[in-house]
Symmetry: C2
Subunit: 366 residues, 2 copies
Amino acid sequence: MRVEEPTSSFRARQERLRALMETHHLQLLLVTNLVNVRYLTGFTGSAGVLLLGLREGWLWVDPRYTLQAGEQAVGVEVIEERKGILPGTSKWIGKNEVRELAFESASLTCAQFDQLREKARGNIQFKPAGDLIEELRVVKDRGEIEAIRAAGKLSAEVFAEILPHVRRGIKENDLAAEIEYRMRRNGAEGAAFETIIASGPRAAFPHARPSSKALEESELVIFDLGAIVSGYAADMTRTVFLGQPSRRLLKLYSAVIKAQAGAVQVVHDSASAGEIDSAARRILARHGFSRYFTHSTGHGVGLEIHERPRLGKGETTCLRSGSVVTVEPGVYLKGLGGIRIEDTVLVGPQGPEILTPAPKDKWVIS
Amino acid sequence: MRVEEPTSSFRARQERLRALMETHHLQLLLVTNLVNVRYLTGFTGSAGVLLLGLREGWLWVDPRYTLQAGEQAVGVEVIEERKGILPGTSKWIGKNEVRELAFESASLTCAQFDQLREKARGNIQFKPAGDLIEELRVVKDRGEIEAIRAAGKLSAEVFAEILPHVRRGIKENDLAAEIEYRMRRNGAEGAAFETIIASGPRAAFPHARPSSKALEESELVIFDLGAIVSGYAADMTRTVFLGQPSRRLLKLYSAVIKAQAGAVQVVHDSASAGEIDSAARRILARHGFSRYFTHSTGHGVGLEIHERPRLGKGETTCLRSGSVVTVEPGVYLKGLGGIRIEDTVLVGPQGPEILTPAPKDKWVIS
C-alpha cells in the first residue's frame, strides 16, 4: 500500500519553511533530523544531510543512496559524498564562505558539532534554529492526511481481524506477533511502535510491553497498536474483558468511553491542546474516576508516533485544521488492571474525524 | 526466550570502565547513550541517565520506570525525576559542586549540552570522554555470548523453516513478514533490523528493502535477517536461486562461499579487522570477482546490530577472544543481482565459532 505524495507538496513545505526562515533572519539551515529531511524533500534513506538556503537546497548522501536520492528528493541538488556525509557538507560550507549557519540543536550531537566547526573552518556564526520544522509539521497537508487515514483504516481492520482470536490461554506475545504480521500482510510498511498487549494486573502499567503471559478468565486486556503507511503512523487503543464484567467495571468502561468521546468532540480548529485534556479529565471526574487517569490525554502523530502538540494539562498550543492527534484517556487500578481507549483524530474543516474506525462496544468476550 | 545475565556481569563491566576512567583521569562520567546504560547496569527502559563515579553510581529515571529500574539496575542508586531527567541530573551535578564532568559527546545533542551547562551552573569543566564504553563492548562476556548464540540459533532455525516456502510468485514483503512473525513466535524479542529480501536485479543493491515484487524463475534471492534475544542481535545472510543456475552463476556462488569460509578461518584472537577483510578479497580476486565486492567484510554485533570493529580495508583494530563479528562478503552485478553469504562469528578460545548455523549448500530451488 502506498499513498503517493505529489512533488508540489515538498516544494510547498520548503516554501513555508523559507518564509519562516526569513521571519527569523536565517539564510541557511542545516537539517540533520532525518525525519525533517524526508518531510521537506521526500528522501527516505537512512543517512543524509540537507542544507536549505532561501532559494536553493543541497542534499548530501553516501554512494548507497545516490540513485535513490536522485529519484526521490524534490527541489534540491543531490551531492554524493564518499568520505563521510557531515564532513563533506562541512567542507562545502567552508569553501562557500558561509558566514552564518542555522542548525537543529536537538538533532546534532556535540561530536558532530565539533566536526562541523572544525571542517568548515572560517569565522562562521552558528545559530540554533529551534524547532521550526517540527512546528510546520503540526499542520498536515492533503497527502499526509491520506497516508494517516490509510494507516488508521488498516490498523482498525487488523484489530477487527484479530478480535475473534482473543481468548483465554493465548499469550500476549503471540497476539502482538499476529497483529504485526497482519499489518505487513495487509500492506503496511510495519508497526509504528512495539504493539502493546497488556492483560490482567499488567494492564495497570500504561507502558507495559507484551510478555509471555497468557490471557486468563476475568481479565482486562489492553491493545495499543498502529501501522505505518507511506511513512505515516496511526495510533489506536482498545480494551476488552474476558468473562462477565462486574458492575464497577461496567461503570469504569462506560466512563472512559464517555471521556474519550467527549474529548474527541473538543478537537476543533483553534481549540487548545489543554482544553482537550481537561475535557477528558472533567468527564472522568464527574464519574469519580479522575484520580486513576495518570497520563496526558494525547499527542500529535504523523511521520513520528509522538509529535507535537502534547495534549496535556495547561498546554496552550492551538490545534489547526489539518492537525492530527490522538485522544486516549485511560484509568489504571493496581491489581485490577487498566482501561484505555484511543483514536487518531483529524482536525477536519467540519470538526473532528476519527481515523481509526474500530468498534468500542464489542469489548466483552464471553 | 531469555538468557539471564548475572548481576556480577554488570558489576564487572562497571569495574572495567572505572579502571579505564582512572587511566584517563576521569572522576565522573555522564552516560546518555541508552545502550551503554543498559550494558553497564541492566536497565532496559526507554529513558534514563547514568552518572558513574569511581566508587558510586546514580541512575535518573522518570516515574514510569522507577519500579523497573529498582528491579533491574545493578550497582547504582535509582533517583526518580518528575520534571525532566536531564534537567534533574544537571541540578544534582550543580548541587554536588562537581568540578569536572566527562560526557559522551556522540550521544549528547547540542541542545542537551546547553541545558546541562545551564542547569548545572557552576564552573564545571566538561570533557568529551570518547568511546570508552563502546571499546569495552568489543569483548563480550559469557552472558552476552549466550544471548547472541541464542539469537543466532533462532535466526538460523527461522531461515530453515522459511526455506520450503520460497517459490515463484511469493512477494518479498510477504516473506519478510513471515520471517519476522516466526522470530517472535519462536521466542525472539523481535527482528534486529528490517529483514532484507531482495530478488532478481534488486539483489544488486546491497541495502535493498523488501518490496511488493514477486519472486520469479531464474532469480537470485538474498535473505538478510537477524533476531534479538535478551537484547542481543544476530545477523546472517543466505542467497538462493530459483531454477537451474548457469555455469557462471555456479562459479560466482562457489567463489563467495570460499571467500566467506576463508575469511571466517582468519577470525582469531589478535587477528586485525583488516586481515579478515583482505582474506575475503584475496579469495574473490583469485576467482576474478573482487571488483564486484563493493562493501566491507563485516562488523561487530551485540546490543546493536552494527558495533565495533568494522572489518574493512586497512582496519588495524585487533579482535580479542570474546569478540563477535559478522563475515559477509558479497558480489553484486548490475542486472543479474547479487550473492551474499553472512554468518555471525565468535572469536572463541579455540578459534572461530559460527553462531548462525544455517546451511549454505541448499541454495538451488528447482
